[in-house]
Amino acid sequence: MTLPDIWFIAIAVLWTGFFILEGFDFGVGMLHGVVGRDDAGRQMAVSSIGPLWDGNEVWLVVAAAAMFAAFPGWYATMFSALYLALVLALVALIVRGMSFEYRNKDAHPRWRRTWSTLMTVGSVLAPFVLGVGLGDLLHGLPIGADQEYAGTFADLLPPYSLFVGLTFVVLCALHGATFLALKTTADVRERAVRLTRRIAPWAALAVLIYITWSHVLSGKGFLPNVIEIAAVLAVLAAAWLVKEGKEGWAFTATTFAMATSVLVIFTNLYPRVMVSTMGAANDLTVANTASGSYALTVMTWVLVVLLPVVILYQGWTYHVFRRRLTHADVTDE
């Protein structure tokens, strides 16, 4: 295994970590208005991710920076090709980030409603656009021999990519629902359980189609492998597990489904990093976009030393905030 291969894996891991973690806070953002019938309920939902979302979002920052550092050609082509889509993603990420911090800074109903709306819209849009972007990598975009994007905005939206975007939205919603079922109490928890059961069949169907489509697209036949089938089953299992009151396991199941779904893109891509629809010779690959071995060696050391530390203290944060939130917690705030 070469250094660029290691970094391809690292980037896949970073994107996976991002969707596992930020995935549930996307879901909570989408659903907080549904699980919370009144302001206190909505506040409970939002409070469940209050201390966590910012740390989760850093996974995206690091994933993007790692692409820049390890595969400048990939980062350059992908980000300039997806330009307007990324503007949309950034707007979505900005408004929802602000809404988490600012929503509770005023009790006026209109203030709360406005931020709630922005939170919902931002939390749906962000995973959708990022999903479309990841889908584009595998579907392929018109990329010329100079590695530059040669298409228009409409070329970013083939049916496959749109479907990937949709799948990630549904999956994030499910992941958020199991998280809410795990972290809240009373009526909010009950509604989260019901939502999980309602979303799960659709999510399972979406994941199954998405996996199959990805296989076909990359010329690997029709059949999902064992892990992929397990991911679909995990989605279905989540519905059953929440009903049995095993929310922890349900959340584990949606985590597994999320991880597998992100990795489907990367495993089908390799050794390519971005497919060109203008001939395989124009594909961006691990080899033709990577940085030099010195830079990759330095960064490997940094990653190997620091990522475990990061996971350790982020894990500890989750441990500190492991308790379910009650209505009393929220009104005390």
Partner: protein
Amino acid sequence: MSNVDLARIQFAMTSIYHFIFVPITIGLAFLTAILQTVWHRTGRDEYLRLTKFFGVLLVINVAVGVVTGLVQEFQFGMDWSAYSRLVGDVFGAPLAMEGLAAFFLESTFLGLWIFGWGRLSRRIHLAAIWLVALGAAGSAAFILAANSWMQHPVGFEINATTGRPQLNDIWAVMTNPVFLWGYTHVLLASLVTGCVLMLAVSAWHLRKRSNPEVFARSAKLALVILAPAMIFQMFIGSELGVVEAKYQPMKIAASEAQWTTCQPCSFSIFQIGGGNQDQTPTKIIEVPYLLSLLATNHLDGQVTGLNELNAQYQQQYGPGNYVPNVFIQYWSMRVMAYLAMVIVLLGLWGLWVMRRKHLETAHRFLGLAMWAPVLLVLMNTAGWMLTENGRQPWIVQGIMLTENGISPSVSTTTVAISLTVFFLLYAALTVVWLVLMLRYARKAPPPTVPAAEDTTVPEPTFAR
């Protein structure tokens, strides 16, 4: 306007905006950590109340800083893909390290700190705010290392087959003299910004006689740090000028509108003309020897003029105009330096008032101090204009021209759309941020409550 112009405006706009919040965040994080440490050591209620009070202001700022930082990171690839492709091998490494080593730390521990009141032991909770401050300062370090590489590229070789710079010495990148001086400069600017904000908010309360027993303490803390930090800052800034004069002589010559070579060189306090076309400005007041001293550390040092430098560059890099925008350069230098002096005077005035023990009743001083944060925003912005405009026309000094760094696949319309979107969004953010800052800065500091019930927001503002 070309897509290069628009992309430059967008990058300048979003960077300047982002850097309103960065120094506030770094400065306030350290000051809040100090307040909490004093509370931890002395157990005095006033410091706990101040910790929570300024903690809320910190959070309101971090929110904007974090979300606008994401735009900066994405923009390299979106607008400057040719640049990213060329230099990612070197430039990307410090960015990736920033995330792993610093940003994770800041974000994770900020969440822990905000929601950790009553959930963490007092000692660990105190450690959390220090880690937030360290993370914020660490983030700035890696970003500055990357930026300094654009000013003075070191630690790389050009790959013979690809023609691209390749990292070959990370240590050189992290000990780049431009970085070491520039980072110290930014850290001190952040500390000063935090102090001025704390002073301004405290001044407002003292004038209104709201909780003077609490805000006199924060005003004093800010004042004790402010003047010494700002004076030290001016020495660092001047030393940074000498370092930059060595590697980017254009930057310094342009900041004095010095078209011809001089020795010794005077510094004009104010002049009329001397911009991009006019090479014989009318200097109103001149300080002899000062430019020589600032640029070289010697009273009779030689400063090469813009014309001669341009001729040298043309010989070295081919035909073209290598002189940055002289007007911007000349005035950003002065706005920065003069405002710095105003801040020093304000700080010394405050110390003097404090020594005479009538800080709480010094209405004229407090009235002026209230407005000082505006000066800080202007000063910090001018500082960045000076260093970034002075790098032009290069995106990486001597390696790539800005106009060549643009994304070839991105049309002018696309950049125009995105510029409009970000302009409108940032304008809206500014309104919301200002409303919240003004409101929370005017609140009374939260009363202390039993530790167990003690949560994020200082007052039960949204109890139903």
